[in-house]
Amino acid sequence: MAAYALRRLAALVPLVFGVTAITFALLVLAPGDPVTFLIPPEQRGAADLAAMRHELGLDRPLPVQYVSMMRDLVTGRLRSFGDRRPTLARVGEALPVTLILTAASMALTLALAIPIALVAALRPYSLVDHGATLFSLLGISLPSFWFGLGLIYVFTEQLAWLPATGIRPTGATGYNPLVIAPYLLMPTIVQALSILPVMVRYARSSLLDQLAQEYVRVARSKGLRERTILRRHIARNALVPVVTVTALLVPFLLSGSVVVETTFALPGLGQLAVNAALARDYPIVLTTTAIAGVLVVAGNLAADIGYFYLDPRIRDG
């Protein structure tokens, strides 16, 4: 198991490297000098700018800058251009918000998608199945931020049931589930709805595939109850593609979190990335994209481990 996980992990290292290299290339190709964003206009003497550039290491050759930025990033010495705090500390504050939101929306999606897909697959082309198809169409066509604003309009502005912004009341700290739940409810629904159609579609077709297999007919002719066939025979096989899609949807959810966190003013990774990019805070931009890459890799790894448990052919071979 450990060897398998390590091998999969090693295969994914180039991805993180690729993402940071692309980000660094964007940073150095971008027009404008980050230094001018950091010094107020009245202090911008040529000497001041040069000194600042030297202090930030921006006067060194590009490959040196990249390698040293990456080394500092990994060792935690890379600091924000803005408040000069370590980038990992800044990301560390934002990351739990995004992780909780992503995990909650994935859990909600699976909790809804599997029963819907099951009903749709057991009665293909029935009213429920057509309903699920129509619902999918609406779901993939809906702009998430607009849906989010709609929820805010109804549940915050009109009914005053839920808070619209932030992750917790002002003054509170930590991630006590009872305290943050009202704040996360609407963002979680928005994120879940954005991926629910894809999940239902895959789960439905995977279930239909399995239901048509010979082993199902054998199990039925043995006289097994439908419930037993579903739980003991079909579920495991049908779950493998669902696990794949779950991993594929992680980058999608992370991308979505940029917009959703802005809609609900959640202080997560997405919002940090947008603000840092607008402020030319190169180290933060590099760190957020690298961490997003790491999260994707982690999602893939989790899927690989999922296969490992679900499919003995992978485990033993």
Binding site: L27, L29, S141, S144, W146, V259
Partner: protein
């Protein structure tokens, strides 16, 4: 008729009365989508004639005016008529959606056809690249790009297009792989046709249906991406209207003026749905097994 195994491989299969277009025309959802799409394009083309006011004319005595006869969809905080802005934005949004789809199509076809036809190391390298782009949360890179280089409409078209090509590349590669050992390709090789000529003249025409289906669905996604970026302030820049940035304008006034954000969002929703309905309809008509 099976569009993957045409009997006359050099050209698209003849679509007779019982062909795919017939199936498309008998599918009510596809027709509804096509009608909606035609309406959007018609309105976008006629937008300057239909708009009751100039898109950026401030009516200072009627700020945040609710929808009524004078302002059918209300006005925003600067007193600009929402209907006029939504109409002007429809041109911007549809143009960005279609042009960025074309960018992703060109990139996807080039990469997919090259990978499928060349095979070997080239194929492996290109598909690895495709996997990376698919796996990366591209929105982070998109946001970084637009913030660093400054948001502009050409920049928006390029970045949306250049991050959306992998699915097209995979489709084209799969189709080319399936076709490249067929007799008509060997025949073309035997008479001395170059690789580029074989791809352009013999392989791509057989992939047109698949590409068209994927392209239709991609426009919807591109519109959603543009709207999200404009909402973040990184897309179309005010005062130029786009559906996404009108929604952003209305965000601060949600409690007192719902109409500012509501109507442009409805347009995005309906336009994306129209593209999805037409794309699904084309897929069902031409190639039901296709997963796009």
């Amino acid at each position: 008729m099976d569009s993957r195994a045409p009997s006359t491989p050099e050209r698209q299969p003849r679509t007779g009365r019982r062909g795919p277009w017939h199936r498309f025309a008998r599918n009510p959802r596809a027709l509804a989508g096509a009608a909606l799409l035609a309406a959007f394009f018609g309105v976008a083309l006629a937008a300057p004639r239909l708009a009751p006011y100039p898109a950026d004319a401030p009516h200072l005595l009627a700020t945040l005016h609710p929808p009524d006869r004078a302002y059918l969809l209300g006005t925003d905080n600067l007193g600009r008529d929402i209907l006029s802005r939504v109409l002007a934005a429809s041109r911007v949004t549809l143009a960005i959606g279609i042009l960025s789809m074309l960018v992703s199509l060109v990139a996807g076809i080039l990469i997919g056809a090259l990978a499928g036809y060349a095979g070997g190391q080239v194929d492996a390298a290109l598909m690895r690249l495709t996997d990376v782009v698919l796996a990366v949360p591209v929105f982070f890179l998109t946001v970084a790009f637009l913030a660093l280089f400054g948001p502009s409409i050409p920049g928006l078209i390029c970045i949306i297009g250049l991050t959306a090509w992998p699915p097209t590349a995979r489709l084209v590669r799969a189709e080319v792989l399936a076709l490249r050992h067929r007799d008509f390709v060997s025949a073309a090789t035997a008479v001395g046709a170059s690789g580029g000529r074989i791809i352009v003249r013999h392989l791509l025409p057989n992939v047109v249906a698949v590409i068209a289906i994927s392209a239709t669905l991609r426009v919807g996604l591109a519109i959603l991406t543009e709207a999200g970026l404009s909402f973040l302030g990184l897309g179309v820049q005010p005062p130029a209207p786009s559906w996404g940035n009108i929604i952003a304008d209305g965000r601060a006034y949600l409690g007192i003026a719902w109409w500012v954000s509501c109507f442009p969002g409805l347009c995005i929703f309906l336009a994306v749905m129209a593209f999805n309905l037409v794309g699904d309809g084309l897929r069902d008509a031409f190639d039901p097994r296709l997963v796009v």
